[in-house]
Structure formats: C-alpha cells, structure tokens
C-alpha cells in the first residue's frame, strides 16, 4: 500500500493506493491533491476570491459565473436541503460568523431571509441570485472533494485505494477496510464500527472530541453521528441531517442507500 498526505481542507488529507507503481502513484496522488486544493480554493469562506465569497457579494438579480465544481456542490446541497425539509442548511454562514467560527466578510452583501435552496438557482455554469446568501459548504464540500480525488485516482489508473480527509473517508476497488470511530466520551478510545468496500463514511462528533479542538468552555455534550453511504459527499451531508433528525432520517437514509450510527450523550446508541 502506497500512501501520501498533505495538509488540505484545514485537515490532514491522506491518499492511498494498492497495486500502483511508485511513479504511477505519485502522478495519481498529485492529481488527487490538486483536485482537493481546487475545491478548497473555490469553496472557502475565508478566501475573498473564492466562488462562495463572490456569491456572498452578489445582490438579488445578479448572475454569477461559477466553476462547475461549485455548481455541482450547490446543486447537491440544495437536493439534500429539500430532501431533509431544510435540516441540511448550507446558508448558515451568517450564524457561523455571529459565533465567531467564520471571519466576517467585510465585502459581502447582507444575507436575506430566503433559504439558500430557494435563494440561488444553478443555470448551467451560472448561479442566478434571487436573494443574497452567505454559503457555508462546510457540511458537504469535504465529502465532494474526497469523491473528486477518488475519481482522479481512478482516471490515473489506480484501481484500489482510499482517500481520507480528516475522517471523511472513501475506499474503492477491492479493498475492504475497517472504520474506527473515535469515542465522543474519550478521545483516546476508538471503536471498530464498520467494514467498507467501495463505499464511504463520515462522522460528526462533539463532546470530548470537540473539546480537544476547542479547548475548555461551552461545548455540546458528547455525541457522535457516523454515516456509511455510497459516496463521501452523501455521507458528509447525511451526518448533518442525522445530527438533527436522529431516527427520523431513516426514510432518507434508506433512499440514499446509507446507514447511520448515532451515539448519544446518555450513551444510548441507534443504528439504521
């Protein structure tokens, strides 16, 4: 198994391949890392030149040309928003700015009240802005980037491998991998929870894990949501939906050929 890692998407992104020569793997991994860096540059709320920030500067009635990746992520985000009755909300950047998680964009148009799935309309390579929106693709872009990296690896001739962006994981080819989920009660404890083959997994967690990152202070009670799905993008988006809907997300999970594992603050567990 060959492996490389780079710091991208604010986390450590690892690319692995089996059965590829060293040279072939290097070329394939470079393509995968480049694709992930591209997604990051297009969809970062931090970078003023990103598509997301250009959209945040647009007024109602404006038409904003965006990269096909941005249009693709926006369309997927809107599908998840509609399928979940709004539980998936990529228009949540204003709240994140208010909380101090994202920097206040001085150049942006104040966001409107319309949900992002209604406020923006993808038309080819343009986004028609019906109302100003501040997008936060934090709940979906990482998964999309992982899927894109897998596509790049495959195109470069890698048949079996895996891409992991800080826990958004996809394995492809003949590899079967055990996924370990970090306990929300104790960050040093890992649970082997699932076996993946040509499939993806994502986890959203709080509690001990959040505390590790955030330091002491007000943090939510320990909790973790893991979703197994055919693509990393779906797994990523579904963790946010299950986070809010818990077992009520069962029909949506079933339609998406996905499964969820919720470990709740009281230690109870739900699996679909």
């Amino acid at each position: 198994m060959r492996r490389r890692a780079q710091p991208l998407l604010g986390t450590l992104v690892e690319v692995r391949a089996q059965g590829a020569s060293a040279t072939a793997f290097d070329v394939a991994a470079d393509a995968a890392f480049d694709a992930i860096a591209r997604v990051h540059a297009l969809m970062s709320f931090h970078e003023a030149g990103s598509d997301v920030r250009r959209l945040a500067r647009a007024r109602a009635g404006e038409r904003v040309p965006v990269h096909p990746h941005t249009a693709a992520v926006l369309e997927r985000a809107q599908r998840w928003a509609r399928a979940s009755g709004g539980a998936f909300d990529a228009g949540c950047a204003p709240q994140a700015v208010a909380q101090g998680w994202l920097p206040a964009p001085g150049d942006a148009v104040p966001p409107g009240e319309l949900p992002f799935e209604d406020a923006l309309e993808v038309q080819g390579h343009d986004v028609l802005v019906h109302a100003p929106v501040w997008l936060d693709f934090g709940g979906i872009a990482k998964g999309y980037a992982v899927d894109l990296a897998v596509a790049r690896l495959r195109r470069a001739g890698v048949h079996t491998g895996a891409v992991n962006a800080g826990g958004d994981l996809r394995v492809f080819g003949t590899l079967e991998e055990t996924v370990l989920v970090r306990s929300p009660f104790d960050a040093s404890t890992l649970w082997p929870v699932a076996a993946l083959r040509d499939s993806a997994c994502a986890t959203s967690a709080s509690g001990e894990v959040a505390r590790r990152v955030a330091g002491p202070g007000d943090v939510p009670p320990p909790r973790s949501v893991t979703v197994l799905a055919p693509t990393a993008c779906a797994a990523d988006a579904l963790t946010k939906i299950v986070w809010q809907q818990d077992a009520r997300a069962t029909p949506l999970l079933r339609r998406a050929r996905a499964r969820a594992l919720v470990v709740r603050a009281d230690g109870s567990v739900w699996q679909s």
Binding site: A5, F185, D198, R259
Partner: protein, 197 residues
Amino acid sequence: MTSHRWLALPLHANAATLGALTGAALLAASVPASVCAATYGSAEDVAHRVFKSATAFTDVLVAPGPDEAAALAAPGAAPHGALRTIEARQGDGVLGRVIVDSVVGKFEQIDYAVALDAAGKVLGVEILAYREGHGGEVRLPAWRNQFVGKTAADPVRVGADIANISGATLSCTHVTDGVHRLVAWAAKHPIAAKAGA
C-alpha cells in the same frame, strides 16, 4: 459494488431499536488507541518528486542563530533546533530546496516537509509522519523522544492507523503556521550558488 456493514459489536444488541447501552458498555468493546500513527515518506522522496530535473541533492543542516531559533519556534515553544534542508540543483543552477520541520500540537506531532523554489515560493507541503498519543503522554518529552530518528523501517508501536479513523478531525493549523515561519526564514537565507558554500 458498494457494500458497507456494521461490525458485530455489543452495539448490535440494540441495532433495530433505540438502544440503552451505556457509554461504559461501549467503552468495554473499544480498542484503546494509545498511539495513532502513520508514516508517509521521507524528505528525500519529496525532494525527488518536486525537483524532477535536479542533477544533485545536497543535505544542508542549518543552525539558526538565537533570534532565528526563537522566530522559527511555535509561540511558547522552545527555540528551534537545527533545520534540515535538502538543496536541489541542476548543473550550476539552483532549483530550490526542501525544509524538514516538526510541529507538536496538544495531542499530536506532525513531521512535514516544505518544498520551496529558488525564489522562496512554496511548491508543496507534504506530511512525512503523523503521531498521536494520549493528551497527557504527548506532552511528555519522553514520548516524543521514543520516535526521534525513527524511519519507516523502524517498528513503532501503533494502536491504530489514522487512515480509517472517522470523527477525528485533525487540525493542520500548526503545520500551516510552521510553513509560514519556514517561508519567512528562507526569504532571509537564500540558497548558496554553490553547494556547500
């Protein structure tokens, strides 16, 4: 063919319904991850990958002066030791260099390499190794020392590979900060025209 399944765990006692398994019961079924670690490659690998047209690579160890050692260190950390660099040349021309560094977070240590062109522009950042321990352990110098000088060939006791850990969002902020410090240092220390000069 997509396939995924839950593993047989005590969790499955309650798989179909809302289970009432306690956190303690879950912990009993868990794997203690005393150390998560992964080794990716060497600085030489990075140098050869980035500077494909190089005809010569020279290892140069640079001891920073007291002020520079402080500037190279993370805020609050001990002054930086000697910097390991690999200079890449093609004939008489300087192509650039790779600088090796290590950052220690609250729970993890990340070894990484930055490739810079002759003008000091970042060509790439590659993680060489990642190691994580218990919060308490990783802060102890002894924990760090056990890895000093280790290579991919050395056996490191590994509780779990980071590859398959979900729910472990590893922050690379320390690496980004480290890269900025190295770039600032490199701008003040251009590569000598001749190797070893």
